[in-house]
């Protein structure tokens, strides 16, 4: 009940901001179109990069939106006030997770659909699984954004968390250098970064017509990372402040 009205409140805030909605929906599609022209004449490369990007965009966007939204709750005093009401921490965390997860689903569906039908991206396992993994990745972005916002006091700090959290995952997820060709310790780092698993899952969907065991395992790892991030996020969210 409180969870539902919190989700509705967050979505209503989004609805009053049509430009943000437009950016959420259009930007990934535009960037994938840009890649389409960059890799003109190399359809195999485009397939691989576009698939990976479909997992990464929602993560980055939702990470940023969530950290800023949470920071705003803190800065404008609504968080302090909410904590004097019957709202539970989980109502807030899941409220953001589900509301922005829904937005991410729209984003991923539009971008993946456009890449598939308009740009001829091929994904052997089908679009549904691509969108599913993209949404899982977006929710991971929300969960990490909620967690990081606890450590940011200002917008400047919050924005700095984005390169800190996103860049290593982006560099080590196997998009630029295949993971098995990295030096041992880098592979080890890559192994503990959740995005490595979502990119691997997307690659599996790209090359296998049926969902593979590896893909389900990877998706499970991403879900596990979401739960851990939310749990730590709940633990760092304090009803009382100094």
């Amino acid at each position: 009940m409180i969870l539902l009205s919190t989700i509705r409140r967050i979505l209503t805030q989004l609805r009053h901001d049509p430009r943000t909605i437009a950016l959420i929906v259009v930007v990934p599609t535009l960037l994938i179109t840009l890649m389409y022209f960059m890799y003109d004449g190399q359809p195999r490369v485009f397939d691989r990069v576009a698939l990976t990007m479909l997992g990464i965009f929602p993560f980055i966007v939702m990470f940023l939106i969530t950290s800023i939204a949470m920071l705003r709750e803190r800065a404008n005093g609504t968080l302090e006030r909410l904590f004097t009401t019957p709202v539970g921490k989980l109502d807030l965390l899941f409220g953001y997770g589900l509301a922005f997860g829904g937005a991410a689903a729209v984003q991923a569906a539009v971008a993946a659909g456009f890449a598939y039908w308009a740009l001829g991206m091929s994904a052997a396992g089908g679009l549904g699984l691509v969108v599913l993994i993209a949404v899982a990745n977006a929710v991971l972005g929300v969960a990490l954004g909620l967690l990081c916002s606890a450590f940011a006091r200002t917008e400047f700090q919050a924005v700095q968390f984005m390169p800190l959290v996103v860049a290593p995952q982006l560099l080590l997820c196997g998009l630029f250098v295949p993971r098995e060709r990295m030096v041992g310790w880098l592979q080890g780092v890559s192994d503990v970064l959740p995005m490595s698993y979502s990119v691997q899952a997307l690659t599996e969907v790209g090359s296998h017509p049926d969902p593979t065991g590896t893909m389900w395992r990877d998706l499970g790892v991403v879900l596990g990372a979401i739960i851990v991030a939310l749990a730590v996020g709940a633990a760092t969210l304090r009803r009382r402040t100094p």
Binding site: I2, H16, N76, R81, F83, R239, T241
Partner: protein, 240 residues
């Protein structure tokens, strides 16, 4: 006399300073109690403690028989923060309905609260587009929407015109008459006169806890403004 809020030996450190240092007071149930004191004296800090969002160093704060901040109290407390704390990107009505929903109340409770603060005609406006005074009233609407048993209001009438101030105070008095306990901070002495009791706080220490009439008598002035100055200055001369 039944006590709604009881504070004993409260010490609160913020940063390096003890903002409240051994603060003790009691607020009777069903009363309007004014919290007065110079800027930076610790009024907001005390209110944050009562609503349970302030980290406390030592001492006890009991509200309606439970420790401040207990889950059971959260449905019984309304808190108005000093700076308006509502969602600027929602309309007044959407804000009020959201806060109503947290207490499992519906749209009618929200509309009633909006009416009480005189914002019915602006209910469909985004909070970001409101005037400063309207914004603080929108925030107030969200604090009273649940008709709480304990109402903690941090400078609720700042920026309001005399007519509205009068109406809002009439409403606070009505709520107290219905059994609610209202703790309200203010810098306006003519509002202090409308309280049942006054708590005077200076640098985190309670320097008076009495009815407005008794405070005036003790300070030797019929004018509450002057009485207040006298008391503050008297305490400056005698270092604690």
């Amino acid at each position: 006399m039944d006590t709604a809020i009881e504070v004993t030996g409260l010490v609160v450190r913020r940063g390096k300073r003890a903002v409240l240092d051994g603060f003790t007071c009691a607020v009777p149930r069903g009363s309007v109690t004014g919290l007065l004191g110079p800027s930076g004296s610790g009024k907001t800090t005390l209110m944050r403690t009562v609503v349970g969002v302030q980290v406390v160093t030592s001492g006890t704060v009991t509200v309606l028989g439970s420790p401040a901040g207990s889950p059971a109290l959260r449905s019984k407390i309304g808190y108005l923060t000093q700076a308006p704390s509502i969602y600027a990107d929602l309309t007044v009505r959407e804000n009020a309905r959201y806060f109503a929903s947290l207490y499992r109340l519906g749209a009618s409770a929200a509309d009633e609260a909006i009416e009480t603060v005189g914002l019915t005609r602006a209910a469909h406006q985004l909070v970001a587009d409101l005037s400063g005074g309207q914004r603080s009233r929108a925030s107030l609407a969200c604090a009273i929407v649940s008709r709480p048993e304990i109402l903690v209001l941090d400078e609720p009438t700042v920026g309001q015109d005399p007519l509205l101030r009068d109406e809002l105070w009439a409403h606070f008095r009505r709520m107290a008459a219905d059994g609610a306990t209202v703790l309200v901070s203010s810098h306006v002495m003519d509002e202090a006169n409308r309280c049942d009791r006054l708590l005077l706080i200076r640098e985190g220490v309670l320097i008076a806890d009495d009815t407005p009439a008794a405070v005036k008598k003790a300070a030797g002035s019929d004018d509450l403004d002057q009485a207040f100055l006298n008391l503050i200055r008297a305490h400056e001369k005698v270092p604690a």
